[in-house]
């Protein structure tokens, strides 16, 4: 009895409302995406019909309400205590999935449970977050120490490797989000900075011929040597360092070339090329990017109005209800609606990070950062892909995209943190 009241008081209602707003808005837009203006529904209640995805999503939403309650009623210490066990169990499920799954669109990441399919990869993020939080909050573990960093790295890298084996590259990539957490916990800023430099080199080497990029790096190195280093700094050691930077940069450029042309599969190659030049293949690989752009752009400032979009219906935009749900937002709600969604996400992320910083337990803080990092990474890639700033990577927009696995996994991820946070205030 008392527990119930405590949770009501302790839970961060701001986060809950932001979550609810996103889920509700997502649900409306899923209905818009499946709505057929050619054959309009007689009743407003059509949105609940299980004949289409909006109705199914409503069921998913209802079930996630149950999940919330379950999470909030489980003792908060459970997550800390069972962090590794949950993680280990998840790894087993991921491996089992490869063998148990039925192949859907070339991917072996779905497990069939009766008439529903679940994608364990979605839940692996939560498990990894718990394990990582538990490990980093262990006494004497220090991320700046090489040995500990390697362990943390292993925790983060094992699940995506298995997921890649399931041929679900998009989900695997999201584990890169944990870099943000590691950075917060003391990992040298060099690593994320290197990541960004790597990304820039990656894009440059796609746009320009390799040798131009390498020449560019060389020019920068020489300029750095003569313009930024004072005479006494031009030591043999620093020269060696700069040459190393140059070689590393060149290696990355050539490596990207090799990776794109030799390692990636044809359809993946095209997705990367389309990022640089969507017009190269407007009817093929560029189709998604082009159509998504047309849909969003045609929404203009105020949007076409709810259910009045045309591009996002009639199958022009692929995966309109799932990965490309943001197109529906852009087309029907316009600039106002799109920015609204981004602002709600930013408010949520801001709230989460501030809550995480307030945590007294290290475990809660790190887990909070994990939640923020994962949500942010999805936002970054998903919206970036619909507006043509990111390659087409099939990951959902949290809370908005259609799909039980995705909605439930994000709900679990978020509400575990809210549960932990609820116990911050009255614990001591």
């Amino acid at each position: 009895m008392s527990k119930e009241i405590d949770i009501k008081q302790g839970i961060d209602w701001t986060t809950v409302w932001l979550y609810a707003a996103l889920v509700f808005f997502g649900w409306l837009n899923i209905y818009a995406a499946v709505y057929n203006p050619d054959n309009p529904a007689d009743s407003i209640l059509d949105i609940f019909s299980l004949k289409h995805r909006a109705g199914v999503q409503f069921m998913f939403i209802s079930l996630s309400f149950l999940l919330m309650l379950v999470i909030l009623f489980i003792d908060y210490k459970f997550y800390d205590t069972f962090g590794y066990i949950i993680y280990a169990f998840m790894i087993l499920v991921l491996i089992a999935t490869i063998f148990l799954s039925t192949e859907i669109k070339g991917s072996r990441s779905w497990i069939k449970l009766g008439s529903f399919s679940l994608q364990p990869a979605e839940f692996a993020k939560t498990a990894t977050a718990l394990a990582l939080a538990k490990y980093l909050s262990t006494q004497n573990v220090n991320i700046t120490r090489f040995r500990d960093a390697v362990v943390a790295g292993l925790l983060v890298f094992v699940p995506p490797i298995i997921i890649i084996l399931q041929k679900e590259t998009g989900s695997a990539l999201t584990f890169a989000a944990f870099v943000m957490v590691l950075y917060r916990e003391g990992l040298s800023g060099v690593y994320p900075a290197l990541g960004i430099v790597f990304a820039i080199l990656f894009v440059l080497s796609l746009i320009f011929p390799n040798y131009y990029v390498i020449a560019g790096i060389a020019v920068l190195c020489v300029a750095f040597w003569y313009l930024f280093l004072k005479r006494f700094e031009r030591t043999r050691q620093n020269l060696t360092r700069i040459i190393a930077v140059f070689l590393l940069g060149s290696f990355v450029v050539l490596g990207v070339d090799f990776f794109v042309n030799k390692v990636l599969q044809k359809h993946q190659q095209k997705r990367v090329q389309v990022l640089v030049n969507p017009d190269a293949d407007p009817l093929g690989a560029g189709w998604n990017v082009t159509q998504s752009r047309i849909a969003i752009s045609s929404g203009q400032f105020l949007g076409k109005g709810y259910l009045k979009g045309t591009q996002t219906k009639f199958d022009y935009v692929p995966e309109q209800a799932t990965d490309f749900i943001f197109c529906t937002v852009g087309e029907e709600w316009g600039f106002i609606g799109s920015v609204g969604v981004i602002l709600i996400f930013l408010a949520l992320l801001n709230r989460l990070i501030n809550l995480a910083e307030k945590q007294r337990s290290k475990f809660s803080r790190i887990y909070g950062y994990c939640v923020a990092a994962i949500l942010f990474f999805h936002l970054l890639v998903n919206i970036g892909m619909t507006i043509g700033l990111m390659p087409v990577i099939g990951i959902p927009l949290p809370f908005l995209s259609y799909g039980g696995s995705s909605l439930w996994s994000f709900t679990i991820l978020l509400f575990i943190f809210l549960k932990l946070d609820a116990h911050r205030s009255y614990k001591v």
């Binding site: 950075y183 752009s297 970036g384």
Partner: protein, 644 residues
Amino acid sequence: MFDNRKQTILGFIFLVGIIYVLRLFYLQVIDDTFHTLGSTNAIQKEIQVPLRGQIYDRNGRLLVANVEVYDMLVTPRKVKSIDTLTFCKLLGITRGYFDSTMNAAKEYSANRTSLFMRQLSKEDYGRIADAMVNFPGFTFEQSFFRTYPGNTMANALGYIGEIPKKQFEEQTVPYYRKGDYIGLTGLEKYYEGELRGRRGVKFMMYDVHGEEKGVYQGGKFDTLAVIGKNLYSSVDIEVQQLADSLFQNKVGSVVAIEPATGEILAMGSYPTYNPSLLSGREFSKNFLSLTRNPDKPLNNRAVSAFYRPGSTFKLVQAAIGLELGVITPSTSFASTGSMFVFHSGPYEASNLNYAIQLSSNPYFYNVFRKIIGNNNEKSPFQSARIGLNVWNGMVAKFGFGRKLGIDLPSETKGLLPDVARYDKVYGKEQWKFSNIYSLSIGEGELGVNVLKLANLCATLANRGYWRTPHLIKGIGANGKGIDSELRKVHKTDIDPKHFEAVVNGMSLVIKQGTGRASNLESVGIEVCGKTGTSQNKKGKDHAIFIAFAPRYNPKIAVACVVENGGFGGVASAPITGLLIEKYLTRKISRQAYKEQVINTRYTTVAASAGAKAAPKPINPDAPEKTPEKPADNKIKPATKPQAR
């Protein structure tokens, strides 16, 4: 340090947020590529071309009508694995046509429709339509082409054709699409805005497979096609067709006006062409052959040819002379002492009537001299300047040297010399009456088209005013909406009372003078007219005749020019007489005479030399002069005595 890292992370997150918002702002607000309806692929604009307005004659008979046809369109992306050979056979086209048209369409857009084939007849369409299920990607759009039940008036009606590239690019308000039909000449051009109607636009939704998904937003943005307005012409198709037949074997032009209203009753330019030649699929081929004809059948001579008014202009001189008081109806001039040598015989110009009847050159030389000298200036140079200025102003009121404002696009201004013109030719104050005297008989630096002559005739019939001549007297169902400019009354400076003497002279021209060939006394109509012979350096003179009838309360004023017809009384007067008779009595009493006129042949210099009969350039030397002889029914070469 930890706090610092939190800020860095939040900063990075917000930076991404800002970049995304800016990108969205660019996509949704700034970049308008996909903002207009129909620019996206889900909504496609379907154009419904309305039928073009029809044109009727003054008695409600059709001059221009439409035939419904079907244009075939192609969407290249949808054309998949078709049996090209069967397809070509079905449509009766060559493989080469298919390939080149398809390539052009692909080049334009794979997803949008391009024109594949124009103007399939209803029968062809019916034959092909069923077979089209085997040829996806081809659609039909209803269209039309023009037909001409009256088979006449090609030059005044004009023709329609694909919008010229330049005009397409220079549209201030974008309306026309590439390949749209537009009036290119004549009434089709002048009344394009009324005739074309308004295109309907329908926004249809299509899914990604090209299947129709209904009307966009219940048709909120659609506009209905509005059919073009019909035009009601003042032309009398029977008079017009008679003119067509009378002008067989001749080059020239005829215009008939109802004087009181300015309504044009007939307007012919000859040789003309069959208007259906420039309608339909054979347009380009026929157009080329028409442009190659040395007699320029595409020119509307009625409004754009250049002739000297010749002796018809003497009527203007007479009216001005009377108004200025330099002559009276009984003024006489000796036939000697002018710069024109009057040809032999009893043509002593003892009064104005007689001078008009005989078209006396010396008489009007003197009239003009008096007009020019009608001031107190001693210097002949100064005097000529002042006189010409007054004269110019009064002649201009007759519509000379300006556009009359007819509802046709190609009207020319003609030529009316002013002081500045002679200053330029001779130098300031370096010219006097003896330099410009040829104007007195309508030669020299005067230029008119046939419309202007008809208008002069109407002005005389009205005794001093004219109304803007026009071909169209009603637009649309209620016949309203005509520009009031086209109904304007233009007054001359001449008091109406002075015209009686002039008209009397014109009546004598018909009864016993140079225009006897158009005498209609046998059917009880008093015709008033005047012959003219327009000099033409390239060859034989052009025969001019103007006439109106009846003398009192005139109903029709006609001007007729037969190029290289020689003397006006011979070549043009008979045609004019027959037209007047037809209009006023609805029949021709003299069938044999009509046949004779039809069979008379005048060959133009242009046709025989294959060159264009260019207007005579301004000649500072004393112009040749052409006296006129009484008409007879044979063609006589006009004699050309020396000027001095």
